[in-house]
């Protein structure tokens, strides 16, 4: 009946418009975690010592960590708690390394809030609800291009692919492939050891609707300086690691830059024969706690590393 259709159409349009106005859009999540764990065998927690050497070798690492409030929106911690366990392995040959890393989010939770018409739902990830979830897998390769494994200056390059895994609503993934290309440097001068990095995080996702959300590709930077203290067949390395990122589209803007620091301590075997253990712990805070940098963070891990073949290392 045409007359009926004419009468009901405006009412239907008004109803739909009203419903649309009163139902806030729900913003999708993204990968909040900003700590890029260095490949197993790289020494530091976040940076790379570039000391690959010898014949065929490798490392297996088990790490865990907790970050407090890495995502706040207008003061509300949308992601208030973020705990993870990470398993990673690497294979080295001479000055080359390939690695695989997989992270299990153990707890990701927070408080929901709204920004304008958009509702931002907090994640609720726990081992019970998500017993086998893995967030984005990391597959990468590194090479030392200049310098020996124990020299005063080493220069290297690395690339890493992030394979999407998990759900965006859990704030553990962007749901897209991502890439990291880094230029790294490191060196040792007596008891002083240092490492740094500069690179690009190729990130397609742009979420302007959430303050602190990703804004596309990012510039990565980091620097670590420490003291290496020999202690029998082991060495203790202690020092700060500072790292961060800024979105290229608004470089070093207040809402698009995050910087955090970790005071890291590691104890590692130094013998050249047989597998060695490395234990490490880091405690730190967001120096500029925005854009994924947490209020505070702790990281710990153990690593088994070694080489099965031997090639002469040239310092």
């Amino acid at each position: 009946m045409p007359s009926c259709s004419r009468a009901t159409a405006p009412a239907l349009a008004i109803a739909i418009a009203t419903a649309a106005a009163s139902t806030p859009a729900i913003a999708d999540g993204f990968a909040v975690e900003r700590l890029r764990l260095a490949p197993p065998g790289a020494g530091w927690i976040a940076l790379d010592s570039l000391d690959m050497r010898g014949g065929l070798g490798g490392a297996v690492a088990l790490s865990g960590g907790y970050a407090r409030a890495p995502l706040r929106v207008d003061g509300t911690p949308v992601v208030a708690n973020q705990a993870f366990a990470d398993v990673a392995a690497s294979v080295t040959w001479d000055r080359f390394r390939a690695h695989l890393g997989l992270t299990s989010p153990l707890r990701v939770s927070g408080r929901s809030t709204g920004v304008g018409a958009a509702r931002i739902e907090a994640p609720d990830v726990s081992l019970g609800r998500h017993p086998d979830t893995l967030s984005d897998a990391r597959v990468g390769a590194s090479a030392r291009l200049l310098g020996g494994p124990a020299g005063g200056f080493r220069l290297g390059a690395s690339a890493e692919l992030r394979v999407p895994s998990g759900d965006r609503v859990d704030y553990v993934t962007d749901g897209t492939y991502r890439g990291v290309i880094l230029s790294s440097f490191a060196g040792d001068h007596g008891a002083l050891t240092y490492a740094g990095q500069l690179g690009v995080h190729l990130r397609p996702l742009d979420v302007p609707s959430i303050p602190g959300g990703p804004r596309g590709s990012e510039l990565l930077f980091g620097l670590a300086v420490g003291a290496r203290l020999p202690f029998g067949p082991t060495a203790i390395v202690v020092g700060p690691e500072v790292f961060g990122e800024t979105a290229l589209r608004s470089a070093f803007g207040a809402q698009s830059t995050g910087v955090e620091g970790l005071l890291s301590l590691r104890v590692e075997g130094t013998a050249e024969d047989g597998p060695q253990l490395r234990a490490r712990v880091g405690v730190g805070a967001g120096l500029d706690p925005r854009f994924g940098a947490p209020e505070w963070r702790m990281v710990f891990g153990v690593e088994l590393f070694g080489r099965t073949g031997h090639r002469s290392a040239k310092p």
Partner: protein
């Protein structure tokens, strides 16, 4: 009114004639395939061929790795399976708003999995294993309509076409030697190469599937190389506690005394039936199992007998409670569920959603394997579960049998080829049948009506070793009485599989 199915009653059913024919085929196949002579150790793990291409063999050949005393190992696999289900006869499908029917139309299905197996020795006797996996799948009819004879064992209850990465296993094993002879344990996925005491206690804690360790069978279990159908993975009636992918958290203690082994395990169930979320209240809800194993030799040929009992305490519904609740209050029907349900829209049907509470399910089973020759072995499994409560983790079958034979291609100079023929049959209890007959849905079955009969499958496959670590297989399955319903089927499924090991 559905009838209780007894072995005597089964003999009167048309499907039983098919079963007898299947048994005849299997005997014929065994006779045809059996080569003369023999003397081997096939039920013990076969040594890895020196020319097999995998990471550890390559390293060992270059002198960079000791397979007999491993500190670590890494393996991988990729399996792609595609299947076609031919159209079949069905007078009704999803009757009265039910949702559990296998579609009678032609359908295609696939699964793809890739797994990395990492192992490392932590300290003397201690090993850690970690296995990430990726899966993509498209099941037949959204996985509905088959009880225990699901045509592809790789299918997961939460699987989707988009690849999903997850952690399948992460656990630690500690071995305590008790003496006896020294036995070599071979390097394999989830197994570091080493030597162990023939008398030992092994404790496993973490995230794994209980069928990684319990109800193993040399000829019916490693389904990425062997049979396709889930009826051959373990007892179809063994509703072992696990999440929707088949994994759980828990602990397992194994005692090995030379030819004997005893295994005791407690595992976490899912919070809701057939779902992914785990209930960690392992003191309240759990799946317990005890297995006794004896390995033996008959006429010089190795074999094994395993007795398995399980007892689950889970938040599940009883079939008789659901039917009684619907009778007492028609408002408690499948379409009106307020708690977890499978989404049936049948207002005249009972539903388990109204009656879930702490209930117990139990079952006992026997598992046999026997080498007949170097290259031919047979297997048998049978299990009886009480059949009073809903499927919580595995299949809707209450009683199951499976048997068959597996042959290597050595007699025809294809030693890495595999050929297999097997049959699986499953039954449901009287209460279960009454519930389904009233239109109820149990897990992934429920046609809206039921003419109760045993569900069965006969499967025949041949797997060709194309390269040293690459197999291509062709498979045929004939299924009858899908979802225990004599009104529907039979169904033919044709499949192919590509399997690579790294």
């Amino acid at each position: 009114m559905a009838q209780r199915v007894t072995p005597q009653a089964c003999a009167k059913l048309p499907s039983a004639r098919r079963l007898r024919r299947a048994a005849a085929w299997i005997v014929a196949a065994i006779v045809a395939l059996a080569p003369a002579g023999a003397a081997a150790e096939v039920s013990e793990a076969a040594p890895r061929p020196d020319d097999q291409f995998d990471v550890m063999n390559v390293l060992a050949h270059r002198g960079l790795h000791d397979l007999r005393d491993e500190r670590w190992n890494a393996y991988g696999q990729v399996t792609l399976m595609g299947q076609y289900k031919a159209p079949f006869h069905a007078p009704y499908t999803n009757a009265n708003g039910s949702i559990g029917s296998l579609s009678p139309a032609a359908e295609g299905s696939f699964t793809g999995t890739a797994t990395v197996y990492l192992g490392a020795r932590l300290w003397p006797g201690a090993e850690a294993y970690f296995a990430p996996e990726v899966v993509a799948e498209r099941p037949l009819s959204d996985l509905h309509g088959l009880g225990g004879a699901i045509q592809n064992f790789e299918l997961q209850k939460t699987g989707v076409v988009t690849p999903q990465i997850y952690r399948s296993r992460a656990y630690v094993r500690q071995t305590f030697g008790l003496g006896g002879e020294r036995e070599e344990r071979l390097s394999d996925p989830l197994s570091l190469g080493t030597t162990v005491d023939s008398r030992r206690i092994v404790v496993t804690v973490g995230n794994f599937s209980v069928v990684d360790f319990v109800d193993k069978n040399t000829f019916s279990g490693d389904l990425r190389r062997q049979f396709f159908n889930m009826a051959f993975l373990t007892h179809a009636a063994y509703d072992f506690a696990a999440d929707a992918r088949g994994y759980a958290f828990g602990g397992l203690v194994e005692l090995y005394l030379d030819d004997w082994a005893v295994r005791v395990a407690r595992m976490t169930p899912p919070k809701e039936p057939n779902q992914l979320a785990i209930d960690f209240r392992i003191g309240t809800y759990y799946g317990d199992q005890v297995e006794v194993e004896h390995v033996h030799r008959i006429l010089g040929k190795s074999g094994a007998v395993r007795l398995l009992g399980y007892r689950n305490r889970e938040n599940m519904g009883r079939f008789d409670d659901a039917v009684a609740a619907r009778r007492a209050d028609p408002g408690k029907n499948a379409a009106a569920c307020t708690g977890f349900s499978y989404g049936s829209a049948n207002p005249g049907a009972p539903d388990l959603c109204w009656v879930r509470r702490a209930n117990v399910k139990m079952g006992v089973g026997v598992n046999l394997e026997q080498h007949l020759t170097d290259d031919l072995g047979v297997f048998f499994r049978g299990m009886f579960s009480d059949g009073q409560t809903e499927v919580y983790s595995y299949t809707a079958t209450d009683r199951s049998l499976s048997f068959g034979a597996l042959a290597r291609g050595a007699p025809w100079r294809r030693p890495l080829d595999l050929a297999g023929v097997g049959a699986g049959v499953g039954w449901i209890s009287r209460d279960h049948a009454e519930y389904l007959g009233a239109g109820g849905v149990d897990g992934f079955i429920g046609d809206g009506h039921l003419r109760q009969a045993p569900e069965g499958v006969i499967e025949l496959f041949y797997s060709v070793n194309v390269l040293s670590s690459l197999w291509v297989a062709a498979d045929w399955q004939h299924l009858w009485n899908p979802a225990f319903n004599a009104d529907r089927g039979p169904v033919d499924v044709f499949g192919a599989r590509i399997h690579a090991e790294l």
